[in-house]
Symmetry: C2
Subunit: 398 residues, 2 copies
Amino acid sequence: MIKIAILGLGTVGTGVVKVVTENARQIERKLGEPLQVKTVLVRTFRDGPCRQLMTDDFKKIEDDEEIRVVVETIGGVDAAYEYTRRALSAGKHVVTANKQLVAEKGCELLALAKKKNVSYLFEASVGGGIPVIHPLTQCMAANRIDEVYGILNGTTNYILTRMVRTGAFFSDALREAQAKGYAEADPTADVEGIDAGRKICILGDLAFGRQIDPEGVPMEGISRLSLRDVKVAQRAGFRVKLLGRAVRLPGGGRTAYVAPHLIPESSPIANVEDVFNAVVVRGNATGEVMFYGRGAGELPTASACVADVMECLQASPRREEIGWSPETDGFVDPLELKTRHYFRIEGSLSEAAMAFGQVEVLSEDGETAFLTEALSGRDAARQARGLHVLACMRVLEG
Amino acid sequence: MIKIAILGLGTVGTGVVKVVTENARQIERKLGEPLQVKTVLVRTFRDGPCRQLMTDDFKKIEDDEEIRVVVETIGGVDAAYEYTRRALSAGKHVVTANKQLVAEKGCELLALAKKKNVSYLFEASVGGGIPVIHPLTQCMAANRIDEVYGILNGTTNYILTRMVRTGAFFSDALREAQAKGYAEADPTADVEGIDAGRKICILGDLAFGRQIDPEGVPMEGISRLSLRDVKVAQRAGFRVKLLGRAVRLPGGGRTAYVAPHLIPESSPIANVEDVFNAVVVRGNATGEVMFYGRGAGELPTASACVADVMECLQASPRREEIGWSPETDGFVDPLELKTRHYFRIEGSLSEAAMAFGQVEVLSEDGETAFLTEALSGRDAARQARGLHVLACMRVLEG
């Protein structure tokens, strides 16, 4: 009998209890022995099936030598950070879905885990139940990873899907998402691109082997996105999606950011709808590989945590190949990245052509919407200086 | 310095040499020491960059204690089977892309590997460079897997894509695929569903933990598929795709088969085009997860082999969780599986309704094309007995 503890009993924590119970037979077959949740850390005691497992004293878990793996589902940094450090220091494996903690402190916590000869795993922190981190770090280990990008936030993708399908304004689509439970009462982290930003930092850390400081990553969400641009893009054969991107630059640097993009509708990621997520990894040998599924939700996320628990226990003494350098040098402002740009201006085609030379017109009716040739974000901003810009987005190259 | 041997120097073997050379830095960073191809087994010596590594005597590899991993890229069963057994018996890890050998002898070779405390890994045998086996067996380990299905053969998917896009007949699209190097001179294994059949056997073995005997798996290809059905399906909002499917049945049995299917165009897998592959795994916790990318080709397939080599070396002494029981009981004829069916008959709608009751008409012009309610393949065949059937396909439920 293998015993684990769960910190926090919110959506993911509750899901972990369910998965361990409902899929006990599958898990035992793979592990060779049963898996049991022994202790659950909570702040306030509540009635329910886990009542007898609850404690509000982390020390009970820290000192319990029977507990081999701790699943941290508290979220945020403060308490989660402290308990994770203490659990690792006590020689326990730690598994988490906490993207903020991994993005900000992952490098340090991995180093601590290594020192203590235990694992710190976080497959569930990106893409919920979709296997992403594992395939990226192990299955594609023989590649030089040149880019990782994806639809990393289900809430914003749901909102964008509603805008495309029903012509809803952002604010109405957001209210609909809140009514369905897809968006929280305070949707800031989702709609402003912060959630996607944390995830792209983690993917970039792993892809390039060096720390990407979330502070240095520009995160633009969809709250200022106009329905008009969604429609113009659609008529021109594009979909607007909020992408997180981490890119290896030709000179050897790397960059990362979050922003809405125009994506050609023939691209598989353009057809990822509703609350689904997708992550594309471009390796120099495999080319583009895409992982698709439900990026959030109680059971998908919890099942990824439990798979990590199983992996900790099987990879004795610890999984080797995950980790990255704390060095942040080589990070380049994404303004340097060259792509085509979409502009909508209050002005004529000749004004657009004057500023950008060759452009591809998407619509002309008082306002002008057009695509530029590939140019850096910096040049795009500079050349647009004399124009009355109503909207500007990057285009994902097909 | 870690030394490996390659058996065979065809497309995949040559690719392995290239990946080990070109991505030497990435590989060394992850492994902690350089990886080197020491010996290459060939039947006839040829000039080239590997000339000095060549031998035609397997014993040189078998007896070489420096060689820790053997990459088998011979293909087929005979020699590949013998050398794999001998390499495992000599205490070497073996990695392969050989789907026929894994489908037919995988269970036995995994048992031998276990006995010898080494790994037998075959990520490249399904989906080329797309991570599939690893995510299925590890990342989704906390799920009960209820179904695996996919577009497992790039050649047939290319042909189907051409039929849809350009209205080409099967025979013309096949010739085009051959001209582009996507289909072999003898395309039987691809177009008759045999290649996809081997792959779905492997996925079913791993998903359900019991041997699926390839002999018992009905494999229907696309060689008899009519352009007319592709067009009728398309006008009705479906795409025709060749799917391999392995399904857990409600009663606890399991089944597997390969056949062309109608897929609703809103389904992500319906939009997988050209030579791309996609595998969908349905777990009871994660729901449907899809893996997408290039399912074949020198570098993608080779990079999956090299990742497996790295994994063998890191998972000391061996990877635990892969394997399945040799028992084949519980396998149910896929004729028992209930789905909607597509029929095209020489006859009227009233004949269709007489045979099947409620039907959904797709086209009526002398011939009648329609969809039935969900019913087993056996019932579909029985109820169609009095009709002049021109085509019949299953429909993938959305």
